[in-house]
Amino acid sequence: MIITIPTPLRVYTGGQQEVDMDAPTVAEALDSLTRAHPELRRHLFTPEAKVRAFVNLYLNDEDVRYLPAKAETPVTARDTLSIIPSIAGGASPAPGRSSGAIVR
C-alpha cells in the first residue's frame, strides 16, 4: 500500500513523498511506517500512542475516523493512505514584526 507523506513530514522519510508499506490494516501500516522512520512517530502520535488530533488520515478518499473499523480497517496493495496535516500559510507577517506571542 502506498502511504503519501505530506511536505512538512518528508524530512523524516529522507525526502520521500510516498512510502510503500505492506500491512494488513491501517494501524499496522502506520506502525510499520514509524518503525522504518522513527522520527515520524512523535509527529504522528502522542506519547500515549494516539494519532495526533491535527493529523488526518485518509484511506483513499475517506477519513479513517469515519470508517466503521477506523484504524483497524483492512487494506490492500491497491489502497492509498494519505497523511493530511494542518497547514495555515496564507500571507506571512513582515520579518521582525513577530512578537513572542504570535505563532511563528
Binding site: 522520527e39 496564507g90 513582515a94 513577530s98 513572542g100 506571542a101
Partner: protein, 392 residues
C-alpha cells in the same frame, strides 16, 4: 448560503456594467441575473497577502458589489515574491491602502471597505455580520479557528484556502449542511510544530493558484451554480501538478457546528492554540529560560566567555547567514545531545527566537542546567549588531 434575493430586488446593471461584464453576460451560468447577484454580493477578504492578492483582484474584476478587506500589515520587500496586488513603490505602505489603489484602478465601481485591524474575538462578529461570504486568506492557526467559528455562529460560508511550500488546500466550510474547519481539524497543532511561510518558505505562484480557486468558489456560491467544494477538501500539489480530493464530513459532535455545540461564542484563540502572551515582567525569562539580548550575547563573546552557541536552524538557512554557532537543526537535537556539552552554558539561537526557545526548554527538561535563549535570533543580530549579516 447567501439569501437568494428576489430577481426584482437585485441591483440594476449600468451601461458600463453591460460592457464591462459582457463576457459574463453571455455565459448561461451567469447571464444578467447572475451578474446582478454578483453586484448585490458582499464578500469579506481576510488578509491581503499571498492568498488575498489574487482573491481580491478576481473578485473585483468579477464585479462583487461590496468587497471588504481586513489587514493591519505593511508591505515588505519579501512579500513581493507572491503578493502581487502590491508593488515595489508600496514598500512600507499599509497593505490596505496599496490594495485599495490597485482594486479601484481595476474596477472603480465596486464598493471597497477597509478594515484596518487584526481580527479578534472582540471585533470579528461585528465586522463579519455585514457580509454574505467570508474568504479566509490568513496565515496563522488562531485566526483560522476564529474565522471559522465566527462564520458558523453567523451562518456565513467560509471559503478556505491555505498553503505551505508547494502544497495547498481549499474547501468551503461553515455552510448549514456542510462541515466546518473544526470538523476537519478539531485541534490546532502545538505552536512551533508547523512552520510559517517565513520559516518554511513558499513557492510564490502557489497562493496565486489557491487564491483563484477561492475566488472561483466565492463566485459559484453567489451564482448558486456548479459543484462547490462544500464537503470536499481539494489538495493541490504544485510541484507534481497533481490535484486530489478528499471527502469531508460534517462531524455531528463538532463543538461548533454539531448538533450539540459547546462553543456558542468566540473564545481566546491564542490560548486555544497554545500561545501564551508574554507580560512585561516576564520578558527577561520565559518558561524558566533566561532571554539574552543580542547585545548581551556580543558582550559575552567579546569578553571571551566559554559559551556554547547552538544554532538550531536548517542547513539552507545557515548557508544564507550565520553567526558562528554550532549547527544542529532543531529536529536533530534530541538525537545529538551527545554533541552538546552539559558542563558549559548553552546559548540557543534560531532566526527569530521561537524555535530556539523551544529547544532551550527541551534542553532544560533533558537536564541541562545552564541554558539561555537569544531573543530575536539572527534577525535581531543583523538589526542591532552586524548589518552585514543577511536577513531573510
Amino acid at each position: 448560503m447567501p439569501t437568494m434575493t428576489e430577481a426584482a430586488r437585485l441591483p440594476e446593471l449600468t451601461t458600463d456594467d453591460l460592457s464591462r461584464y459582457a463576457r459574463h453576460l453571455i455565459l448561461p451560468e451567469v447571464g444578467m441575473e447572475g451578474q446582478r447577484r454578483i453586484k448585490d454580493a458582499r464578500v469579506l477578504c481576510v488578509g491581503t497577502g499571498g492568498l488575498g492578492s489574487p482573491l481580491a483582484f478576481y473578485l473585483a474584476a468579477a464585479g462583487i458589489g461590496t468587497l471588504g478587506l481586513v489587514d493591519f500589515d505593511v508591505v515588505d520587500l519579501s512579500n513581493l515574491q507572491r503578493q502581487i496586488i502590491h508593488s515595489t513603490k508600496d514598500i512600507g505602505r499599509k497593505k490596505l491602502d496599496s490594495a485599495e489603489e490597485k482594486l479601484s484602478a481595476l474596477n472603480p465601481a465596486i464598493n471597497l471597505v477597509k478594515h484596518e485591524t487584526m481580527l479578534s474575538s472582540a471585533n470579528a462578529l461585528a465586522i463579519m455580520k455585514d457580509y454574505d461570504i467570508v474568504a479566509d486568506g490568513t496565515d496563522n492557526f488562531p485566526t483560522r479557528y476564529l474565522v471559522n467559528d465566527a462564520c458558523v455562529l453567523l451562518g456565513k460560508p467560509n471559503v478556505y484556502g491555505s498553503i505551505f511550500r508547494f502544497e495547498g488546500q481549499a474547501s468551503v466550510f461553515a455552510t448549514e449542511a456542510g462541515p466546518c474547519y473544526r470538523c476537519l481539524y478539531p485541534e490546532p497543532p502545538p505552536p512551533g510544530l508547523v512552520p510559517s511561510c517565513a520559516e518554511g518558505g513558499v513557492l510564490g505562484i502557489l497562493p496565486g493558484l489557491v487564491g483563484v480557486i477561492q475566488a472561483t468558489e466565492v463566485i459559484k456560491l453567489i451564482l448558486g451554480k456548479g459543484d462547490s467544494l462544500v464537503g470536499r477538501l481539494l489538495l493541490v500539489d504544485a510541484l507534481n501538478m497533481r490535484f486530489r480530493e478528499l471527502k469531508l464530513r460534517k462531524n455531528p459532535e463538532c463543538p461548533v457546528c454539531g448538533t450539540n455545540p459547546s462553543v456558542t461564542e468566540l473564545i481566546d484563540y491564542q490560548h486555544f492554540c497554545g500561545i501564551v502572551p508574554e507580560t512585561p515582567q516576564e520578558k527577561s525569562v520565559k518558561n524558566g529560560i533566561p532571554q539574552l539580548t543580542v547585545k548581551q550575547l556580543k558582550a559575552r563573546r567579546d569578553a571571551g566567555e566559554d559559551i556554547f552557541l547552538l544554532d538550531v536552524r536548517e542547513p539552507y538557512e545557515y548557508q544564507i547567514a550565520q553567526i558562528g554557532g554550532t549547527l544542529i537543526p532543531q529536529n536533530d537535537v534530541p538525537n545529538r545531545l551527545g554533541e552538546i556539552p552539559r558542563d558549559r552554558e548553552i546559548i540557543v539561537h534560531c532566526r527569530s527566537g521561537a524555535r530556539s526557545q523551544r529547544i532551550a526548554e527541551f534542553l532544560k527538561q533533558s537536564g541541562y542546567k545552564d541554558v539561555a535563549n537569544v531573543a530575536g535570533g539572527i534577525l535581531a543580530w543583523a538589526d542591532e549588531i552586524d548589518p552585514s549579516v543577511q536577513k531573510y
